[in-house]
Amino acid sequence: MTAISSNLLAQLNSIQSRALTIGVILVLGGLLYAFATGAMSGFYQAYLVGYMICAGIALVCMAFTMLHHLIGGRWGFVIQRLLEAGMSTLPVLLVLFIPIVLGMHDLYHWTHAEVVAVDPILQHKESYLNVPFFLVRTVFYFAIWITAAFLLIRWSTSQDASGDPGLTDKMRNICGPGVVVFALTMTFASFDWVMSTDPHWFSTLYGVMMIVNAGGATLSSIIIMMTWLRKHEPISKLADADRFHDWGKLLLAFTLLWFYMMLSQFLIIWAANLPEENPWYVHRVHGGWEVLSVVLVLCRFVIAFFLLLSIPRKRDPRRLVRVAWFILVMHLVDIFWHVAPNFRLDGFSVSVMDVMVPVGLFGIWFFFVLNRLKRYPLIPQKDPRFEELVASVSKAQVSKAKA
């Protein structure tokens, strides 16, 4: 028995091979460009941006799955398999981390012994910020994430076969502690991978900020995928205007939360005005970066917020998907804004690599998402709560048709 219809499978295969081809071409192109111009550091920066986008979405997919198992709600069932496909890429992301290890000396200032030797602040941080411990931590995060993702996916797919309602309780039991562990590991992973590119600077809010911006990107990706999948069985029956309204509302909430986090961090540092915290923002409001900062807040928050206020826009997939694309692109700008100014202290600069490598890496990563998605049924049919959902949705549709 095939999990999904052959028509859909053919389309998924063709998208998948295109994503991989374009992805590999763009990343290799970026690499060649870096070799040709001798700007390997720029390549690694662009790679880190791309990596954070993919890893952020994969991890938030896991967080959303956990939340969904805990709280239920109709918005989750239709996208559960999509979320599982997203988090199934975590082993791939562990492999994709290798270039970051290779580019460590270009990305992380604190890996240079001669720099640490003359820097008292880095000496104090050395017990945390040193290469072996950094690698051990990264492996540790992935061990936790991959285990959780593996269990959640396995139980969910084995429920498809057995229909055992006990599996739902099993999943729910690991999701409670799972959400807490996720928040902690993601926070420390953001500290290690991104915040430590400016090792003097620190913000306790950073991890939450990374979760929230990845949350917006994840919802945008979900809306984009669902707008396409709703033309196919069995999603077409379930992803109606009410579901898109739900995802749109969540996207609006994450847009607000994004600005809330950005402002909280900025306001605290701006009000305290301390020399060890200020430089991070000083870089971002000078030398051309201020234009990017204003554009980011204007697009990712102000424009996105007002677009998402409209109820008809949230209920119409074709209009909502445009906002989703817009936010996904702004997510690239957002991560770029977090990473690049730490390196380009002389002022704003952007190269073709900064677009090619993240987009390419996203394509390669997306190949693995689809690779998982196409092998299993698109909805968790045997979940006991799912049957209630189908009953309630079809009742609403019947009475609407009657009316």
């Binding site: 900025f266 306001l267 701006w270 005005n273 109820i311 609403a396 609407k400 009657k402 009316a403």
Partner: protein, 182 residues
Amino acid sequence: MNHGPARPELRGLVAEFENEEAIVEATQKTVDAGYHHIETYTPYPLDELLDIQHLHKNKVALVILIGGLTGCTVGFFMQWFASVIHYPINVGGRPLNSWPAFIPVMFECTVLFASFAALIGMMVMNKLPRPNHPLFDIERFRYATQDRFFLCIEAEDPYFEKDATRQFLEELNPHEVNEVEA
């Protein structure tokens, strides 16, 4: 005792239905027949009726948006006036118009004004508070909060004609049709 100028003796006609399906069908037919000034009363919310009566477009939303934007502006100028014009203080060498510090209060004012706009807008548009309503004079109307469904065609509707409308409602198979006095 003087009751003032003569009031129209009829406010509308109300039909009582026994179940959900009946009122949905009746409301659809009424809208199709061209009546606009209609009102439905049900023991619990029915999404289908909102669709039929085109009540999803909620004008309160616009009032809330205007209220929120007003609050945001008021929040800014209140602080700007206090710290630039009325009582300027040098805080750590920062400019007097330190707008980042104003944002939390601007946000709170936005929420405050939007909430008041929502409450007041809803009250005004629903013509609330209103202690009594002519429909309450109908004995059976109290079942609207229990297990009966009511559809009222109001006399101000351009298509409303007492006898024709009554006949129209009778054809919808209601439990009974009553006159609502003004």
